[in-house]
Subunit: 396 residues, 2 copies
């Protein structure tokens, strides 16, 4: 599918792994998402196959049939069940996936598979990504976590999709893994916005094959307690999670770290982006209010272009807060910080300092609402001419 | 406020006019909006004063006081009541409005006022507008309607505001005028989106001074019936409006036309825009569903950049429909037209023809949902490098 680059990647576990997944909320999901959802119903996976260059979206019944056939051929080659295979596809859409190429690739998996070569996998699943996106952790407990992602969420040409895979040798029940994946994704990937558009193929899958022998848990009461925390989560908060032992807490913390690193890599690689924006909404009445204001800011084209121009534009930030119509708050309580600098519109020197700060490749924007104690963190990027160029020059 | 250009404009009616207004929903409105709302409470106006170059937003109590003082000075100069004056301000924000300049301008109004020079007024209220925006109608009944607008809605640098004034010599009660303004704005300005950001100063005001002597009405039952119509409204639908005579129907139709012309002028002048997009959502279950899909399409950066690139990108349109999460519809019923051409992804010739069509400065995009009989029209523009350039190079 890509003449000069890798375009097919496989993750395979020697033994079946408990697995959980989260998929795009788009109402027109790609065929790979449809098949992936079906195969994850059993709560177990052994293999993930990903092709880049063609998203197999809107390719009709033949596209769905081919996605299933690829799983079956992979399973046959690896002597496992077809339901243990999850497919992902990313790339151009509404063009038939080359069937023979895909079939041959699936059949030849056993000849090519190697050990722990996540860099090649991460490279194979790239589309317009500027760099590969991986993160590895070895925990005190001995558990290893590897995260691999591609894409820039909701930004790449033709919606080229966020795919992320979290692989671990932890021993964890499927239901616990599902809860933990949902919880950590909520505090990382779900707080990422590049342009507000949503791919039809977004996929986040976690596999835990238990080979470390170290058991971890994440009971329902811990999940409930987790949602009360703010990011960054403090160690004493982690320690207070009910029903969790030390290994489990360390694992949760590691999985969240992996997701946040990948989220930040994706935001920084947003198409045309020159700046990663980390946005903290502080002093909100509750989570819902914090996220409403946060999403309005992180998606505002006028805020994003101002940050691209290193312009500490108080007015645009206030505008973006003010257009959350159902949350009127007094302007007097609002304070805005870039890095450690509070933005003060009546001090020209202050504006110069903040403008210099904004020239960094990473910007921390903090908005204090003065409404309460809740806090949320979101990630995004600036909006540049290159975003427009890349997305207007791409032709179907 | 602007060294080499007009920056102060006045509309004055020889006699008090019934008046109605609609203002920004932003929770941090400018001082002029606050005073304008107060003065419109009486249902009557005689004069509108507008300055460009400074929005008088976030200028503290002094800014609010100055807005009131300008109304008082204007009233004194013209020998009317201060409450009969509505102020508007547009331009940079969080910078003090030059008080003496404004006071002198208000005091000198009687020396400068001329008759029917709407072109100068339209020029004086411009900020980054590429051209003046006016529309004049003389109806069969003898009623005249003049519409003047500035800005590009939610797109200009530092939120430079949409201001629109609809002036007429029709004889209409304030309550009828309020209803009619709400109705025609709903089908025009409220269907306009340039970048989804919302100015703190958006203002739409109508004055009807009755000097034509021709009486028109718009009773409640007519307003209710009006909301059932689709744009473009057919003559037989207009004829069926309850409680309306011929003059009233003609006036309603003329006021709507004026608003739609101004809406289209604003969309076409959207910052950096090269193409006006008229979007028709057809075959919707109801109005709400049509607008949800319409807003998702008209605001999608990936759709807007594709149209800029003259790329008939079926996939991005489907993506934007699919991300209306709470409205899942079957893909099979969806049909997409650019102009008269139905988009067919499997016919390369078709894509070429449509791509050529997309090179025009005005694009009609029709999406048939296959869900029912409801239809809505929205207006927007493409997203270009110039939008980013203009909004990132502007510095507070």
């Amino acid at each position: 599918m890509k003449p000069d680059r890798r375009d097919f990647g496989v993750i395979h576990s020697r033994q079946p792994a408990n697995a959980a997944g989260l998929f795009t909320r788009n109402n027109f999901p790609g065929h790979a998402v449809t098949v992936g959802r079906e195969h994850l119903a059993s709560g177990s996976l052994q293999t993930i196959i990903v092709n880049s260059g063609n998203a197999n979206v809107a390719t009709g019944p033949a596209g769905l049939e081919l996605a299933r056939e690829c799983c079956a051929l992979t399973a046959e080659a690896l002597k496992i069940k077809a339901e243990a295979v999850l497919p992902s596809s990313t790339g151009v859409i509404a063009r038939a996936l080359p069937a023979e190429l895909m079939r041959n690739a699936c059949r030849s998996i056993p000849e090519h598979i190697t050990t722990d070569d996540f860099a090649s996998f991460a490279d194979a699943i790239r589309t317009t990504d500027a760099y590969v996106k991986t993160h590895n952790l070895e925990l005190m407990s001995g558990i290893r976590i590897t995260g691999v992602a591609k894409g820039a969420g909701m930004i790449q040409p033709d919606m080229a999709t966020m795919l992320a895979y979290l692989l671990t040798d932890a021993k964890i029940e499927t239901e616990d893994l599902k809860r933990m994946l949902r919880a950590v994704a909520d505090r990382s990937f779900n707080r990422l916005s590049v342009d507000g558009d949503t791919s039809t193929s977004d996929t986040l899958v976690s596999m835990a094959n238990g080979s470390s022998g170290v058991k971890v848990v994440f009971p329902e009461e811990a999940e409930r307690a987790f949602y009360e925390f703010h990011y960054p989560i403090r160690n004493d908060e982690l320690a207070a999670l009910p029903g969790m032992d030390g290994h489990s807490r360390e694992f949760l913390s590691g999985l969240l770290e992996t997701c946040i690193v990948l989220t930040r890599l994706i935001a920084a690689d947003g198409e045309g982006a020159t700046r990663l924006i980390e946005l903290r909404i502080r002093g909100a009445r509750d989570r819902e209010q914090a996220l409403k204001f946060g999403r309005s800011i992180i998606n505002s084209p006028l805020v994003k272009t101002a940050i691209y121009g290193a312009d500490p534009n108080w007015g645009r930030l206030i505008m973006a807060l003010g257009k959350v119509y159902d949350e009127p708050i007094p302007l007097e309580g609002v304070r805005i910080f870039f890095g450690d600098y509070e933005l003060k519109t009546d001090e020209p020197d202050n504006l110069k300092i903040v403008s210099n700060y904004l020239k960094q490749s990473e910007v921390l924007l903090t908005i204090e609402l003065g409404q309460g104690q809740s806090q949320e963190t979101l990630w995004g990027c600036d909006l540049t001419e290159d975003y427009v160029r890349l997305n207007s020059m791409y032709t179907t």
